[in-house]
Subunit: 352 residues, 2 copies
DNA sequence: ATTAGCACTCGAAGTTATAGAGTGCTAACA
DNA sequence: TGTTAGCACTCTATAACTTCGAGTGCTAAT
């Protein structure tokens, strides 16, 4: 059941129009466009066919047509006219890279903001998985008799610190010994294995050299348990309120609840497939997401590590524009992060 | 113009009722309450007087009464029956202090969440001003030839870190020298003076001992410029959506905009007066805040440092309950932070 | 001083009327 | 044969009108 050229054209114009106006599209209205030099009646006939084939829907018997999910899908797959970005937009997009930012996190955070500003939708960035990064240096700074702060520097420059309680009778030289042992044995360990290695490699050694390790060990171990950094960054959560389809306070509530609780657990990214992916409404396989479309892209952060960018908006989202923007942003981010990435990466000589 | 006892009673009942129901209070309705054994007509007369005196208002000619701002003010100042907290509530309030938290920030963050959960309003906590804390230790960890991470440990256990670019030709021993100089000269400096002291105390010394300081200095200085930690913590931003008066999407928008942009700049706390303060509607001296009431309290974080807690809600907020909760929370927080606060505080022996 | 009674007001909610945009179908047309 | 004009029909959104009830203020009786 192939679509004729005219049907393709009409489907495209219908989706375009609905994306722009958020109003059901009527035949009369369409026929006024110079791209569709047909009479309303002709268009009505074609629309009826498109509806029969499942690409269009009516909200009620005598309304204009709106795209169905199948219609959006077809539109995204075959009818998208890649949007040329306005220069002012690409200037704004690139503006983050102007002022030399040196911290990955800040870069990602700013990217999220800019993306949401440019699209007027909500952006979600997933930071690169840092669990492959390795420990570069341990250090312990005593604050008073009972407390000290443990500092772990990763090879990407990330620094983690945790307060912990020092057992009584623990001397400065004990701490020094401990730091030395940790640095000897654990530098080069990937974050993911740190917990395990801590036990395997250092427990007996520590106990041999230092008295009173009992308390120390447990409290230090708790201190060292670094959770994989909070990796989700949001931008423009409030933008969704600008969309006419969410003028309803109830929808708003469920959306925000989803962002707060659901999103982290969501499988938006889990796949992390390279390239740009569009998921429309129910394709998200999530009840609360039926009214939304999500477009994801990935970026690379050196050393085989990747992160994801996503834009979430109404199904009636400006797919062309968002795809263009995400494509640009993922490339720019990858390039910029490559520039930032330090030295030879995880395998850079500290393995023991 | 003193109020009679009966007028006081009726004013109180009216405010109480409106706070609970969010509906204008009628005379008939009030007269049903056992506390007000008067006929509707009597109550009408009293209400008319109260309106004349400015304590009550009507939304339209034949509606029931709602409290005016003056009415709320009087209610808060004179009619509040201090609420006895349900035991389950105080248990929940205290639950944060059960599991020993060692980091101030986490404690404050959790407090914000619990406060908003218990009140169903939005909470804002202002962390203690940390600019009085002093530097405990500098350290620099080189990551590769061009990059290093500067780490500053404060005497309260806070750790700041920043990546910076190392000028070419800068050796490991140069870094060591630099760290030593910094530790000699700047340990004990309060955060607030760090920038100034860096120039005064170390610039010439550094330049004497190390070549190529030019680039280093500027890039390091940028790295070391610690902004006073982001000090605002929010809880339950979404709670405002539960309030019937904000069923309107426009109000919602302006509220969230205010939270995102305005609140940090707002003078909620700036005064930081000890004790509990209630600001009602226009008393906030802020256009966008006319529909909201804010209740603030302060807590002490040792060493003369104080932070603030605030609850922001509709004018029709449950003042009694919120005041009780804030009072409890500010005391508990103060106590807990005193326990956490380390050693003798800023004057603890590291002054140079 | 209090209260019952009553006429009056106003908003909320329901009903009806109207206008407009859209449709499907049929018949005329190129 | 594909396209289009014409027309009756459908449905929504909006406005206009009604009804209902809760509330008020005022007056007169208790």
């Amino acid at each position: 059941m192939m679509l004729t050229n005219r049907q393709l054209l009409i489907l495209q114009l219908t989706v375009d129009d609905f994306i722009e106006s958020a109003q059901p599209v009527g035949s009369r209205q369409l026929s006024k466009k110079p791209e569709a030099p047909f009479s309303p009646a002709t268009i009505r006939n074609e629309m009826a066919d498109l509806e029969e084939m499942g690409y269009l829907e009516k909200t009620h018997t005598s309304s204009g047509r709106i795209p169905s999910e199948k219609g959006y899908r077809f539109y995204v797959d075959h009818l998208l006219t890649p949007e040329k970005l306005k220069t002012e937009d690409s200037i704004q997009l690139r503006s983050i890279f102007r002022d030399k930012i040196v911290e990955t996190e800040e870069l990602i955070r700013k990217s999220a903001t800019i993306l949401s500003d440019l699209t007027n939708y909500t952006s979600i960035l997933l930071g690169p998985d840092t669990s492959l990064h390795t420990v570069k240096r341990f250090s312990i700074v005593p604050l008073d008799e009972k407390t000290a702060v443990a500092i772990i520097v990763m090879d990407n420059g990330r620094v983690e610190n945790r307060l912990f309680t020092v057992p009584e009778g623990f001397t400065a030289s004990d701490i020094e010994k401990m730091v030395n042992i940790l640095n000897e044995r654990l530098v080069g360990t990937p974050l993911a294995h740190l917990q395990r290695m801590l036990v395997q490699e250092t427990k007996t050694v520590l106990e041999r050299h230092i008295h009173h390790t009992g308390d120390l060990y447990s409290s230090f171990q708790r201190a060292i348990s670094i959770e994989p950094e909070e990796r989700l960054y949001f931008g423009g959560k409030m933008n969704m309120m600008k969309q006419p389809e969410f003028n309803d306070i109830e929808k708003m509530k469920t959306f925000f609840e989803m962002m707060d609780k659901g999103a982290p657990a969501m499988k938006f990214f889990q796949e992390g497939l390279a390239g740009i992916h569009v998921r429309i409404g129910s394709e998200n396989n999530h009840n609360a997401m039926e009214d939304y479309s999500v477009i994801t892209a990935t970026y690379s952060a050196g050393d085989n590590m990747t992160g994801s960018i996503a834009i979430i908006g109404p199904k009636r989202m400006d797919y062309a524009r968002v795809i263009t923007l995400l494509d640009l942003m993922s490339n720019d981010l990858s390039r910029e992060l490559a520039r930032l990435t330090i030295g030879g990466g995880t395998a850079g000589g500290n393995e023991h």
